[in-house]
Symmetry: C2
Subunit: 114 residues, 2 copies
DNA sequence: TTTAAATACATAAGAAACTAATGTATTTTT
DNA sequence: AAAAATACATTAGTTTCTTATGTATTTAAA
């Protein structure tokens, strides 16, 4: 498990990527998917996820669809057009950012590597 | 310039890396160095940096040395032993985290790339 | 030469995003 | 029958950052 501060600020990008890949997902499903994809190294807590999903919906990036499963109602999220282009931007920006960070953290900036 | 949320949580790692490379640096110097290294894509504000430096010092990761430059006093920071091993850990963790994020963001997780 | 910009430190109010805890209810597994 | 997993949600408190402000010296420009 990574330290919490590392994951900060990346949650939005992860959610947008998941939805751009899978079309539609519900919250709990996202937490399980990320856990599975990362062998438990990234754990998305529900206390962080649900408020974010609500915000992204309020911002017009996501739309919801309620699907009854037995007596429960499952809430599926999917990207709007705006959310879709926002996803592309965020993902590209993050990949670019990783290049920059890699340069800082292991680039030949004067001394030997840490 | 990257969106702010992206940089969140990475400042500590950057500072520790800078000090592990350069031995000793003062705050303002760090802001300029990062700006230069990243072509202005990462801007460290003093409002974020100084409180962090104070905290790292309080936590025993950094020690300070005051050097008079003319009538001003410049405050140099360097790593303690604890800070040095903490730096190695943080940097390694971040590089690992980037691998994981890269896998999530562009890995072959079922659909075409975004 | 005086004005502006850069250097160099610092703090503080407020915002954003997350943690950890708690709550409800259903469904599945033991 | 009990426990665990599924599935939603909120909330108090913390951390960390932004934006603004403040002080003072030094260098560059007008």
């Amino acid at each position: 498990m990574y330290s919490n501060e590392l994951i900060k600020g990346t949650l939005k990008t992860i959610v947008l990527k998941l939805l751009s890949e899978n079309g539609k997902m519900y919250g709990y499903e996202m937490t399980q998917k990320v856990k599975e994809l990362t062998d438990g190294k990234i754990i998305i807590t529900e206390g962080a996820l649900y408020p974010l999903l609500h915000k992204l919906e309020a911002d017009g990036l996501l739309i919801t669809e309620k699907v009854p499963i037995g007596k429960r109602v499952r809430k599926y999220y999917s990207l709007t057009d705006q959310g879709s282009s926002s996803a592309s931007e965020k993902i590209a920006e993050f990949l670019d950012y990783m290049k920059t960070m890699k340069f800082i953290l292991q680039g030949d900036n004067g001394l030997a590597l840490g």
